[in-house]
């Protein structure tokens, strides 16, 4: 095996590791990554989101787990010996390489103005930088009077505006100083810049364009920033975001060629002037040019991975198009945004009242799209960017007018890039679709498209449609509707039986897919449509999966498990004793679940009522472990006991569990509440998770453990209890209304057009005007809740179903057999035609 040493574990270095491990099927290479930072590669592009949670782990990129990769954190490469082909690390270690890849990124540029190195001056590139800014902001809270606390950002580009936003979140009023005559001069033109400035100022950010920062002076514990026009700004913090410089010192010291304006000089194959050394990412100057975006870096990583394996890939040139949401404002720029091509024409639509600016740059015959700028509404970005270089399908003016000529995705040329983060073209998507990836999640998995910034997800949907893949949302052969559509049908028509629904809106008699789905919809809506009903009433009982039918969980040997509700995981000794007694008396296997409750296994159908009689008498109620419904709200002990707790997490968990118990949903729902940021309850792996803060609660949504783990996203922060509960109410009802059958919240959010921002718009800002309905629906659910097991015990007709055999009600199923394992009964392994498997050290075979 040969050794490739990678210097730098940033986004691009990490991408190289992924690409090489993924493709090196013959195991030709082992990889040693030398990283200066102490944490493994993280999503620097999303650095600003760190201010929401202060959880750096949330930024971490998925690790490459492979025995060929050795990652040395906190041990940078300090010297290259090209003759001996070795590198030395700061800790003194020597590593011999066959190939060396420099992926050292860049460093923020700090203009050498007097005072730039005062304490209180920071850069904006790592979580540590943000931590330091946070400390300084907190100090300002103590020392500077409210209303005067402020921060100056030097540089009004993308990063500067992100930094201004962060300062605002930290309680400082931000001032942005930009030497160019407009904000984001690289991306937007004058018209777009003017609108952007209006938006930004509307958010309380003071903007000083066309002015240079001349000096920073200490001023009675604070600082004074002097601008070139004489303006003086009092400030607590200064953040430099005036561009970056490639980190090429290692290469310079080793005598490698560097670009005119810095950066390790490489050719289109990413080779440096030494055949064994390569450079990628922000530190590289490809044919003399450095790129400050992640997508070109990824492309370079792919080139080197290919070449290390004997290929001849070359850097395809970079698309420096960008689309971002800055302080909630959409800004996009693509192609030749500044109309530099000869004869280029500009078509502009500027509506300052509606807050919308759009410019298309087209060829002199107005037929070919060359580039453009969008501010305020960047909806059309995906399609327009992919069209760059192609003949326009419509009059350019029509394309950007608000009534908007909706573009046909089918008109895109094969080479058009759909996903610029991962350089995925229309053609690649087409091939993937033909190979069977016919859903957005499948496309994400096999092409990576849509997994970067996500702005191309709507485009993926359109492409699927254009390829004629009918995104069949049909539930099954009996309904052409999706679950969400059926939900709307039921809500609107108030049809209350499956028979009527399938007769009027479907075909046939239904099946194990549509019947439980409809049963769930009827149950979700029962608070509104049929208060006081039970899921086993009348025909509805026949629709239920066996779990819901017997209000218990079917296990592989035909027995059931029983899980009473233990809200928040809090239980009295007396109740715990009852559970033990019931388990003992009915011979049940007992296990603690991950959701802080107790699962009793091995109950036969005919035993369930007697078991539940005992449980209900002792004050237990159904835990809905059998339903696609709220399961548990886990909690840590919070302020009751924990010395770190800042809120009563147990009380909150119990309140939430009691509020949402019994709510039927497209899939199961799990939740947790942690009493402080230490997050002992693992709330961020839940469908909705709550974490206490000093000021209230943070709500995270759409997390998932299970098969495809996903961290939950922060939806709202520092809210009071009332707002928290209202937001969860709406979140749950919106999910119940719009998700597909058996779609958990995580994939639901991934497919939701507009993602988290859209979700927030809908349930926090009521952008669809449905919040009142959602609130009513949840109120009806809460008011209509009744324990399902009590309902069965009180109704002889329902109880009558719990028999082993209609013609021999008392006789237990003779095929159910147990063996003893670790002192408890477990199912005897039985397969048809096979004898009982005898296994285990201390085994008694029950006859």
């Amino acid at each position: 095996m040969r050794t490739v040493v990678v210097a730098g574990h940033g986004m691009v270095g990490h991408r190289l590791v992924e690409a090489l491990i993924g493709r090196d099927l013959q195991r030709q290479w082992r990889i040693v990554v030398l990283a200066e930072e102490v944490r493994p590669a993280y999503d620097r592009v999303a650095l600003s989101s760190y201010v929401d949670s202060w959880d750096a782990d949330a930024l971490t990129l998925p690790a490459v787990l492979d025995d060929r990769v050795e990652l040395r954190l906190g041990d940078p490469c300090v010297r290259i010996d090209r003759r001996k082909r070795t590198v030395r690390t700061a800790s003194g270690r020597r590593v011999v390489y066959d190939a060396l890849v420099l992926a050292t990124g860049s460093a923020p540029f700090v203009p050498p103005v007097p005072g730039h190195d005062l304490p209180g001056c920071y850069v904006y590139r790592t979580p540590e930088d943000l931590d330091a800014i946070r400390v300084a902001a907190q100090r300002a809270m103590q020392t500077t009077a409210a209303g005067r606390r402020s921060g100056v950002v030097v540089g009004g580009g993308l990063l500067g505006l992100e930094a201004a936003h962060a300062l605002r979140q930290l309680g400082l009023s931000p001032h942005v100083v930009e030497i160019a005559p407009r904000l984001m001069p690289m991306q937007v033109d004058e018209g777009g810049g003017a609108l952007l400035r209006r938006f930004v100022e509307g958010l309380g950010v003071r903007v000083y364009c066309g002015r240079a920062t001349q000096a920073i002076e200490p001023d009675r514990g604070r600082m004074l920033v002097r601008l070139s026009d004489g303006t003086e700004l009092d400030t607590d913090v200064v953040v430099f975001s005036a561009g970056v410089r490639p980190r090429d010192q290692l290469a310079r010291d080793a005598g490698l060629s560097v670009g005119e304006r810095g950066g390790v000089l490489v050719d289109a194959g990413c080779h440096t002037s030494d055949a064994d050394i390569w450079a990628i990412g922000e530190c590289a100057a490809v044919e003399g040019r450095c790129y400050g975006l992640v997508a070109p870096g990824y492309a370079m990583a792919e080139v080197v991975a290919d070449r290390l394996l004997g290929g001849h890939a070359t850097f395809p040139g970079a698309d420096t198009s960008t689309k971002l949401k800055l302080l909630g404002i959409d800004v996009a720029s693509f192609g030749d945004a500044h109309a530099t091509a000869e004869g280029a024409l500009e078509v502009i639509h500027n509506d300052p009242v509606a807050g919308r600016y759009a410019k298309l740059v087209v060829s002199d015959d107005a037929r070919t799209l060359l580039g453009g700028v969008l501010v305020g509404d960047a909806e059309a970005y995906g399609t327009l960017r992919a069209l760059v270089g192609a003949v326009l399908p419509a009059d350019p003016g029509a394309l950007i007018s608000p009534s908007g000529g909706e573009l046909d995705a089918g008109a895109l040329p094969a080479g058009a890039q759909v996903c610029s983060c991962h350089a995925v073209t229309v053609e690649t998507i087409g091939t993937a679709v033909r190979d069977g990836a016919t859903t957005v999640p499948a496309l994400k998995a096999c092409t990576k498209a849509g997994t970067g910034c996500g702005s191309c997800v709507p485009m993926l949907k359109k492409l699927l449609a254009a390829q004629g893949v009918e995104q069949s949302k049909a539930l099954c052969e009996h309904f052409t509707h999706s679950r969400a559509e059926l939900f709307e049908v039921v809500a609107a028509t108030r049809i209350r039986t499956f028979s009527e629904l399938v007769a009027k809106h479907g075909t046939g008699r239904g099946c194990d897919i549509c019947k439980p789905a409809v049963a769930s919809i009827l149950a979700s809506l029962s608070g509104v449509l049929s208060p006081g009903s039970h899921i086993l009433d009348g025909e509805q009982a026949t629709l239920q999966d066996t779990n819901d039918h017997f209000l218990a969980n079917l296990q592989r040997n035909g027995t059931y498990s029983v899980v009473p509700r233990v809200p928040g995981g809090e239980i009295t000794p007396q109740k715990l004793i009852v559970l033990g007694e019931v388990a003992r008396d009915f011979g049940l296997y007992t296990k603690i679940t991950g959701g802080q409750r107790i699962d009793l296994f091995g109950a036969r159908v005919e035993q369930l009522p007697a078991i539940w009689r005992r449980l209900v008498d002792a004050g237990f109620e159904s835990g809905h472990a059998y339903g696609k419904a709220l399961r548990t709200v886990k909690s840590c002990v919070g302020t009751d006991w924990c010395r770190y707790g800042v809120q009563d997490s147990v009380g909150m968990a119990i309140a939430l569990e009691l509020r949402y118990r019994g709510l039927r949903a497209p899939h199961k729902l799990k939740s947790a509440v942690s009493g402080c940021a230490r997050e002992c309850a693992e709330a961020r792996s839940k469908d909705f998770g709550v974490i206490a803060t000093e000021n209230g609660w943070n709500l995270y949504v759409c997390g998932n453990g299970g098969f495809r783990p996903r961290h939950a996203d922060l939806l709202v922060s520092d809210v009071d209890t009332e707002t928290l509960v209202r937001t969860i109410d709406r979140f749950l009802m919106f999910y119940v209304r719009t998700a597909d059958r058996l779609q958990r919240t995580a994939p639901w959010l991934e497919e939701l057009e507009g993602g988290l921002d859209h979700l927030r718009d809908v349930i926090v800002h009521d952008s669809l005007g449905i919040c009142a309905e959602l609130d009513v629906a949840m109120a009806a659910h809460v008011a209509g809740y009744a324990d399902e097991w009590r309902g069965v015990l009180e109704d002889p007709a329902k109880l009558a179903r719990f028999t082993s055999f209609v013609n021999a009600p008392g006789v237990p199923d003779p095929t159910i057999e147990f063996v003893e394992e670790r002192g408890q009964p477990t199912p005897a392994h039985r397969r048809p035609g096979q004898p009982v498997l005898i296994a285990g050290p201390t085994l008694t075979v029950v006859p």
């Binding site: 046939g508 099946c511 999966d545 209609v806 095929t815 039985r830």
Partner: protein, 113 residues
């Protein structure tokens, strides 16, 4: 002859005890049989043993149809079995036993051989 046949029809339950589109289990000479009533009033009897899991549970599956053929879906791994023939529609090599069944004077009976 008739007398002998009579001995082999075993009583399951009253027809009215069967809920349309749901099954019950009956114990016929020590063997579990699943008996279903479909929406059109027909009655079917199949072995209750799910061949994929080995559990005696088919009577607890959801009754429906596939392309018009009445089915029950195993509650364990969800394969569909045709009620009339016992053929597994997801894996036609697998067939569960079916039993003759009739309704006499409002009583459901299964033939045990």
């Amino acid at each position: 002859m008739t007398a002998q046949l009579q001995r082999h029809w075993r009583v399951v339950c009253r027809y009215d005890d069967l809920v349309p589109e749901r099954g019950v289990a009956a114990l016929i000479d020590g063997v579990a049989v699943a008996v279903f009533r479909t929406h059109d009033g027909a009655v079917h009897a199949l072995s209750n043993m799910d061949p994929f899991s080995g559990a005696s549970v088919l009577s607890r599956g959801i009754v429906g149809d596939r392309e018009g053929r009445p089915t029950v879906a195993s509650p364990i791994y969800k394969q569909a079995f045709e009620l009339a023939t016992g053929v597994c529609l997801d894996d036609p090599g697998v067939v569960v036993a079916t039993y003759p069944v009739r309704v006499v004077n409002g009583v459901v009976e299964v033939w045990s051989s």
